[in-house]
């Protein structure tokens, strides 16, 4: 914090929440960031922002074009997206909230479409401008592709999602090779977590590191920014002392391995951020 630690790393969940979560959550995040001199994010966060938020925006735009009704799309999201896709459903529901009270359905439909179109067109640039710095050293090639509008309000292209398609330009292999010691530290931490406490993402990260350390040339074939984004983002955040996220489940272990302070923003804006100092012996479980 100011006068103490002055940079904070924003995970994908925070970057998305800053754009489309409710005003009370945004306020909480603003208050947190105001305590630091610098907000930092990274290329893999940008790639996840594209995959998670902007693709949902495209999905909603398609639904609005198809059903031509804000209310019908709203119901469709509630009825169709299964509970297993809670994250997608929540993001869609946040984006389908509206402040235009009293407006009739056709107007709400049009306004939503206009917002979603501009989110797709300028969202990435707005993300860039909303932080002070961007960690680029990992060299995620997928993140470098802009969203391109092919047909207004209808068709958008997001660039590749699979690292193997841009392997010649992907920087993950050399980054891993340069940071093998840190990667091995993370592996040790992951191996020390009881099997029952390990999420599917952490299991995948463990398998990925095992294979990557044994054969770095295979890294791109495993599509790391698609499959083990949490791990890559943790590595990108290495030089920043504080890590800010809404998902403590994986970060609690990765931040420990990297000796970082973890700050978790609960979904309920009435609750305070959970601050887990790197120096504290014990953290709450997420």
């Amino acid at each position: 914090m100011k006068g103490d630690t002055d940079s904070i790393f924003l995970d994908t969940s925070i970057v998305i929440a800053r754009l489309v979560h409710q005003p009370a959550t945004k306020k909480r995040i603003r208050e947190r960031l105001s305590k630091y001199d610098q907000s930092v994010t990274s290329l893999v966060v940008k790639q996840e922002f594209k995959r998670r938020l902007l693709k949902e925006a495209q999905y909603l735009l398609n639904q609005l074009n198809d059903k031509k009704s804000f209310a019908v799309v709203h119901r469709h999201i509630v009825d169709i997206l299964p509970p297993q896709q809670a994250r997608k459903r929540n993001i869609c529901m946040e984006m389908l909230s509206t402040i235009f009270e009293g407006a009739k359905d056709p107007e709400l439909t049009e306004r939503a479409k206009r917002y979603l179109r501009q989110l797709l067109r300028v969202g990435l640039k707005d993300l860039d401008r909303s932080v002070d710095s961007l960690v680029w050293q990992l060299g995620c090639a997928c993140a470098g592709y802009p969203v391109e509008e092919k047909v207004p309000y209808r068709r958008y292209e997001f660039g590749p999602e699979k690292c193997r398609r841009v392997a010649a330009r992907c920087g993950v292999i050399s980054f891993f090779e340069d940071h093998l010691d840190v990667v091995r530290d993370i592996l040790k931490t992951l191996q020390s977590i009881p099997a029952g406490d390990k999420s599917a993402e952490l299991n995948e990260a463990e398998r990925f590191i095992d294979r990557a350390v044994a054969d770095p040339s295979s890294i791109c074939t495993m599509d790391p920014c698609l499959r083990v984004g949490d791990l890559l983002i943790a590595l990108e955040s290495l030089s920043v002392e504080s890590f800010y996220t809404m998902n403590g489940k994986e970060s609690q272990h990765l931040c420990r391995a990297l000796n970082q302070t973890l700050i978790v923003r609960p979904k309920n804006p009435e609750h305070e951020d959970v601050l887990c100092q790197s120096s504290a012996a014990k953290w709450p479980a997420f």
Partner: protein, 189 residues
């Protein structure tokens, strides 16, 4: 900046332990930004692709609606005037006038919204974003900087010819910089 790297080995970045670890998005420090992926039209060797700037759709100038186009023109003049007045009242600390002028501007923007079919997509999109950002705001609390931002958006972006991509980007940036939420209209309650 005084933070220390947290990792024992560092990221290759952390060993420097300074701002060099990041590539600043706003060139305050004059630092080297090579390596930054070019979405802002800057240097970026990692990926060579760059967005193809889309020309704004030509202002159609529909022949059947000259009266409505003239109505837009007049409404934009009044909106620019109202936005300018916001600045004046904010600077003078005239809260009631500030609020009254804010409501007047909001009504003028609503009038423009009714005429949106006469203009290009980007124009309607920008108007929508501006209306969303101003909804539920208390005008009495607006600072001079905020009023300036609104005045600039209305006068230089919404009211100055065809609205291009740059106009939208700059307006979103102005709203964010001045403490408004450009995405307020699609943010949950």
């Amino acid at each position: 900046m005084s933070y220390e790297p947290t990792g024992s080995a560092g990221t290759g970045v952390s060993s420097k332990g300074t701002l060099e670890s990041f590539s600043p998005l706003v060139e305050k420090s004059g630092g080297d930004i090579s390596g930054y992926v070019s979405l802002l039209g800057r240097q970026g060797p990692v990926v060579s692709s760059s967005p193809v700037p889309e020309k704004p759709r030509a202002y159609p100038g529909r022949s059947g609606a000259p009266a409505r186009r003239d109505e837009i023109r007049r409404c934009l003049i009044k909106s620019t005037e109202a936005a300018g007045n916001l600045e004046t009242y904010a600077a003078a600390g005239e809260k009631i006038e500030l609020s009254n002028e804010g409501f007047r501007l909001r009504q003028l923007l609503d009038d423009l919204w009714e005429l949106r079919s006469e203009r290009e997509d980007n124009w309607g999109d920008l108007l929508n974003i501006l209306q969303g950002a101003l909804k539920q705001e208390e005008f009495e609390r607006f600072s001079v900087d905020q009023c300036q931002a609104i005045h600039t958006i209305v006068a230089d972006h919404l009211g100055a010819g065809a609205v291009g991509d740059d106009d939208i980007e700059r307006s979103v940036e102005l709203l964010r910089e001045s403490g408004f939420d450009p995405w307020r209209g699609i943010s949950g309650f």
